[in-house]
Structure formats: structure tokens, C-alpha cells
Assembly symmetry: C2
């Protein structure tokens, strides 16, 4: 979808890729479906842990494939995302909101059902699935100059990087992180992945460190990461609501907020920005 108002503001041709219109309201279905479809026949369960959209993606795939889905979610997850995972028929196991308790709860379920855990981002099947998003952008806009996406765990940004590398001779990929969750930016600066940090951002989908598999892709391809100031994120979310008349999550506002601080760089370019999802809990947000 072309955004005329943003195109004027940046003197560029700016499009969004609307992943909020996916059946689960987010891009995560791409990686989760690719992973689930590689599982051996006769798998007894789909198991994962996630604070949000990945849980919904696995729940949805469980329903589509007729395999029971078990998702571990931290008890402080967005209520809408918990409801939705249940709507798609998953059994939701709430746990303490720490990474350790998520991992151990999922491991116990995986053992119980003799299942593998479907990781949210740190696996090549996930990266491959997420790559289909930029592949589709390049079908529609073969001359696109820039493809931008948020950077959380890195599955989407790594997939975007690989798709741009394979299907375009010129598309440059740009990642965007909240300045208050800049582990990817700092890790890429140092050339070494940061594995522990304390994110403090409203962009709930990006409160995670970049995974090993994605990090290597981003490092190899020297992907540039721009930072969004925390105070710009919600105003940009509302601005994109207005510009696009679509709902986007706070995390999706991060590329817009980050890129707007460098708008002189986008002049005359054709730009596609991946809007990763629209699962907003309106009542909680306001």
C-alpha cells in the first residue's frame, strides 16, 4: 500500500507491506508455517514459547494441520494475544515472565509430547519462512531501493536480507530497533552478538535479543540498523494509523520513527517498509 502522506514528507515513494492482514494479524505465520511443514509426519504436538504473535502463529498452524498446539506464554503477555492463541485452539500454559521459566516450561512440554520446540526466530527454517515477505515485496516492486523492517529476534530482518540478496541486484536492507532495546545495533557495531540486556521499550515485539542464526546473516551482509527514540514510537504509531487507516502495533512504528530522523537520505528513493503486525490491545494502550 502506497502511503502518499509519508511519500510527500520524505520526498520519496513509500510503501508498506501489510502483514497485519495475515490470518493471525502478523508476519510470524510465515516462519512458523515453514517450520511446522518440515516436521516429520505423525508429530503429536506443536510446542513453543512466545510472548505474542509467534504463539498465535503456532496455534494457527496446529489448527490448520490438525495437530494439538501447546504454547507457553508469560503471564504478562498482551491479553489479546493470549485470547487469540486460544481462539486458534491452542492450549496456553501461562508461566512466570522470565525467559528461564519460558524455556523450562516449553522443554517439559516437548519432552511430554516427544515434540521439537518451534523457535520464534533462531532457526534457519524460521528465517527462510520470514524471507517470503521481502520476496513478495520484490515481485511487486522489482526496482525497490530500500526494504526496512524492525529488528527484534532477527528472523524477519535476516530473511529480508537473504531475499534482497537473492532476488534483487540493488535493494538495500535497513533494520530498525528502539534505542532502548539496541542489542542488535550494538552487537553489529562490535561484531559480536549481545546475549543479555534489559530492554525498556513500548515496542513489545522487540524486547528480545537477536538470535545466533539471524545475527550471522546480518553481520555477513553488513546490514545497517537505525535506532528509534523511545518518545517517537507511539506518536509514529498513531501517525501511521492515520496515514494508512490500518492498525499497526507499537513495534511496527520503530522503522518509521528511526528513518524519519534521516529523511534527507530517502529523497527520490522507492522504499518498502514491512508492517509486521496489527494485534493491538486498544484498551490497554490508551
Amino acid at each position: 500500500m502506497k502511503l502518499n502522506a509519508l511519500s510527500e514528507r520524505w520526498d520519496a515513494e513509500v510503501y508498506i507491506k501489510c502483514e497485519q492482514f495475515q490470518p493471525i494479524g502478523a508476519f510470524k505465520i510465515r516462519g512458523a508455517s515453514n517450520f511446522a511443514l518440515q516436521l516429520p509426519e505423525g508429530s503429536k504436538a506443536l510446542v513453543t514459547h512466545s510472548s505474542g504473535n509467534h504463539a498465535q502463529a503456532v496455534a494457527y498452524m496446529g489448527q490448520r494441520l490438525g495437530i494439538p498446539a501447546h504454547v507457553v506464554m508469560p503471564s504478562n503477555s498482551n491479553k489479546k494475544k493470549i485470547q487469540n492463541a486460544k481462539k486458534w485452539g491452542a492450549t496456553v500454559h501461562l508461566c512466570e515472565p522470565t525467559f528461564e521459566s519460558r524455556v523450562s516450561a516449553a522443554a517439559a512440554l516437548a519432552e511430554e509430547f516427544n515434540a521439537v520446540i518451534i523457535p520464534p526466530f533462531d532457526h534457519e527454517w524460521i528465517v527462510e519462512g520470514q524471507a517470503t515477505c521481502a520476496m513478495e515485496i520484490l515481485y511487486d516492486l522489482p526496482e525497490v531501493d530500500i526494504i526496512a523492517a524492525p529488528l527484534g529476534g532477527g528472523g524477519l530482518l535476516a530473511g529480508t536480507t537473504l531475499a534482497a540478496h537473492h532476488f534483487s541486484s540493488k535493494a538495500k536492507v535497513i533494520g530498525a530497533e528502539p534505542a532502548n532495546a539496541a542489542d542488535g545495533y550494538e552487537g553489529l557495531e562490535k561484531g559480536e552478538r549481545i546475549t543479555s540486556f534489559t530492554p525498556n521499550t513500548v515496542a513489545d515485539g522487540l524486547r528480545t535479543t537477536v538470535g545466533e542464526v539471524p545475527f550471522e546473516v546480518l553481520k555477513d551482509h553488513e546490514v545497517e540498523v537505525l535506532l528509534a527514540e523511545e518518545e517517537d514510537i507511539l506518536p509514529w504509531m498513531k501517525l501511521i494509523w492515520d496515514y494508512s487507516k490500518t492498525l499497526i502495533e507499537p513495534s511496527c512504528a520503530v522503522p518509521f520513527a528511526a528513518m524519519d530522523r534521516h529523511k534527507e537520505r530517502w529523497k527520490g528513493k522507492q522504499i518498502a517498509i514491512i508492517v509486521t503486525g496489527g494485534n493491538v490491545d486498544i484498551d490497554q494502550l490508551f
Copy 2:
């Protein structure tokens, strides 16, 4: 756009027609452009009065046609709509929030510029323009059983009625009004247009009486009008935000809220509901 969640809820096939994606964020551009294009060559100004989307439509057409637009808006109009009219290059004349002061201010401008006032709904050119919306629905869904739209001034609902009559052998048209602004419903019951009432509804686009031209069309075609309870309107707005991941105005929620109270009637039907606009002032609403 098909709404899967609503289709399940009503056991029907429910689509929305997304007028929030029009350049001015609302369907009003259809009637305003049809009217403006009928004006004699050499017209010096486009003049109108409107509390909202029609003002933006006239402003936009002024910019497109290179004719100065003058729009009278009540001082209590939605701020976003005032801003947008200015953005499209119109001169905005704020007036007291009464119908009389709108009319007299617009009449003075029309005299000053020797222009006709472009009415928001009560004119056959406006009705014809709005009719293109249902015509497009019938291109996409030739077998549609029901086309529903909100009823405010009646331009859209009358146009929808004429399009369904001419381009479909079976589509039934349903209008929806807030129970707190039910002049159309009551007028059609009595067979006589109601010209004075005090609306008290959050659906700001529907706080107006049905015009003469639209009323005759609705009466002749025996259009059914359903009522939405006031307390259902904002919850349904948020529900449709969630179901569709698009922004809709409070007025657009009225058909959903009204129809949900009769959901047994929609079972097995193919239904298209016109979402009239998405110009929501987020900060004002919450």
C-alpha cells in the same frame, strides 16, 4: 475485504467495502467529485458547509481541479477533519456550531464568488456519485444478498439503493442508524420526512436529518432501516478495528452494531457492509 471472524459469528460470508482507503479517508469524495465535475467551466470557487468528511472531499476536488475551495465548518468539528481540509488547500471558515450559521456563512461565500454550494447529500448528483460505491461492490460480488450502509443525510444509502436496483436482481439494501439519531427510521415508518430532531450519538457522521432527495429514493424502494443501541457503537468500532486491522470511524460501526442484534437473519448470506471512512481523531476518542 472478507472478515473471517465476523463471518463465523454470523454464520455468513461478510465483506467490508473499505472507503477509509479513499484519498480523503472517506466515501464522500464520490459525490463531491461527481458534483464538481458537472459545474460549468470557469467556476471561480467550490463552496460548501460540512462538519467533516464532505469538507475534505470538496477541498480535495478544489486542489485536483485547480479551483479555490471555501469550506464552512462548525467550530466544534473534529480537529483532524479541519486540519485535513486545510491540508488539501481549502480556506476553512469556522462558524458557530448551528445549522443556521453554517448555511448563512456558506450562502455569503457563494454570493461573494458567484458559486453554487456543493451540498453534502441532498442533490441527485451527490446521490449518483455515492452510488458508484455499491456499483463497485456488485462488480466484485455479483451475487451479494445484502448491502448495508449507515444512514445519515442519506446520500450514500440512496445511491446504494439505486445501484442495487439497477445492477442486481436480488441485492437487498439495509440502512443503519443510531437509535439516538433515528429520524430516518421514524420518517420512513410514517412515510413522511422528519426535518427537525436532536441527535445524541457518538456517531458524529450521522448527526443529521435525511435529505429530501435521498428520502424519496428510500421511501420509493421501501428500504429497511435497523437501529443501533448507543452503548454498542464504540465497542463495535473497536471490534471491527480488531477484525479488519483497519481504522473505522464511530459512524461506520453502526451497521455492525445494528445487524448483530439480528444475526439469525444473516445466516448463509453473502453480505457487504460499506465502511464509510477512517478519519478518527485518536487522541480525542480515548
